[in-house]
Amino acid sequence: MTTLQLVEVTAGFGAVTVLHGIDLDVKDGEIAGVFGLNGAGKSVTMKTIAGIVPARSGQIWFDGVDITRLDAESRVEMGMGHVPQGRQVFANLTVEENLRLGAYTLRRRDKSRYPAVLDSVYDRFPVLRERRTQKAGTMSGGQQASLAVARALVNEPRLILVDEPSAGLSPKMQGDLREVLQVVKDSGVTMVLVEQNVAFGLSLVDTANLLQTGVVVHTAPVAELDEDTLATHLGIGRVLAGATGSALTARKKR
């Protein structure tokens, strides 16, 4: 079963076309990675799936429904959750207020479910329960990352889009973040993960989609990826790909 499917999607801003026909298949329960260097169109891909940047042509299917022309809010109502780039927690609101807003459409549908869902999210992120009255902006980067993920989960989404979660985090925080995303993965929610930090991304995803100048140039299960493929399709040159290769080896060993 396919949760999300992009067919020949093009998109851009003004006179600039960034996506030149993206094809993407995300299956139920899998974590699909979208990797590419700066300017490859990763972020625009996410925004097009979210409905913030309109698709100029092509189709986007979500749970068997054509959502190409739906607005972003309706997509959230249908069960799309977001962990936006730069985390974007509401800095002036408390942790609990952030979560309450995260469950905005859930609470409109069925307010009585909320306490139970909140509880289960708190169980998964105990640090948030401890800090529920703290303003989100005053928390550490890693805690904000947890909050951003929790805010998406609390709406009980069927698909979560995670946009560059590791950017700007120290290696230690990246480790914490990885654990957080592992929690999401274990809960069985389908996820699309966009990362520039290829090594970080590869350690989580099931399928890798390699993006170059607005086109998916290669798709493969992580197990079938090797250094050369990465180097060629990401356009980073062999020299730097060596490092990513070692990430692959490390992961295969685990």
Binding site: I52, Q88, G137
Partner: protein
């Protein structure tokens, strides 16, 4: 002294009512509304039309005025602001200036400069005697309503999902969209309540002045704008505090500088206070940096 305080607080109540409406829209959209004064004046004309001309009860006229003002807010957002070619807050703010000009001219064409009166349920001249200054019940109501709105609305914003969505939309509209909030609907509500509040403010001010002329609420509205700016533009309690500071400053200046024989003293006070507050505030980060105070944590 008490006299000055009483007079200052009466003005403060008026300014605060306007300032709250200004801050509400600013919080949600980063647009500064310049039209509230004329919207309020026009609402008074609606009330006067129903009450004075057609003998309806004040309550009916007042209610109609507030509702029509709110509807005007909806229409303004849905009909103009949303479709503007430039979605820039400054451009939208200028749009409100244009709206204000249009309403003003229309009032003038329909009524000329002759004062119109609006019969109020409360008799003028009766009320609380504060050291010789008579504070009428409606003036007290204005102060109370302003304070309630300033502090109460803040807690409404925190308590309800919708209120939280307003706060979030102001902080980060794209992220708010991504939790499924219809930000465009929030904007509609904000404009409607801002214009409605302007009508409420004008209704509460009117008995103090006693008559309506075109543009009359606009001069008071300037105080509201200044109060909102002094209060930091994005804080409702700040707006009330700003209004209090401005009202008291004007009252004190009136008492102690009256000897100068300068007309329009309150405008000079407003301008001076604005400049001082804004300049101090824009230098403040610099000063704080020099003092090497603890660094603020940003999101």
């Amino acid at each position: 002294m008490l006299q000055v305080l009483a007079i200052g607080l009466i003005s403060a109540g008026i300014y605060a009512l306007f300032a709250v409406g200004i801050v509400l829209v600013y919080r949600g959209t980063k647009v500064l509304t310049f039209a509230g004064g004329e919207v309020g004046t026009a609402a008074l004309y609606v009330a006067a039309f129903l009450v004075t001309d057609h003998g309806m009860p004040w309550v009916v006229g007042a209610l109609a005025a507030v509702l029509i003002a709110a509807a005007a807010g909806l229409a303004f957002e849905a009909g103009l602001v949303r479709w503007s070619r430039e979605a820039d807050p400054v451009v939208t703010s200028i749009l409100t200036v244009a709206l204000s000009a249009t309403i003003f001219a229309t009032e003038f064409n329909l009524h000329g400069n002759n004062p119109t009166t609006l019969e109020t349920p409360v008799r003028i001249g009766s009320g609380l005697d504060v050291d010789g200054v008579i504070v009428s019940p409606i003036q007290i109501a204005a102060i109370v309503v302003a304070a309630l709105l300033g502090f109460g609305l803040q807690s409404f914003l925190r308590r309800t999902d919708f209120g939280l969505a307003i706060l979030a939309a102001a902080d980060d509209a794209p992220a708010t969209l991504l939790v499924g909030v219809r930000v465009s609907r929030i904007r509609l509500v904000l404009w409607a309540s801002s214009f409605g509040l302007a009508a409420v403010a004008a209704l509460l001010v009117e008995p103090t002045v006693g008559f309506i002329t075109p543009g009359y609420a606009s001069t008071l509205y300037l105080g509201g704008l200044a109060a909102a700016v002094i209060g930091g533009l994005d804080s409702l309690p700040g707006a009330v505090v700003g209004a209090t500071v401005l009202g008291l400053a004007q009252a004190f200046a009136d008492k102690y500088f009256k000897g100068l024989g300068l007309s329009g003293l309150s405008y000079v006070v407003t301008l001076t206070l604005l400049l001082v507050v804004l300049l101090v505030r824009s230098y403040a980060p610099e000063i704080r940096k020099r003092l090497a105070a603890p660094v603020e944590v940003t999101a």
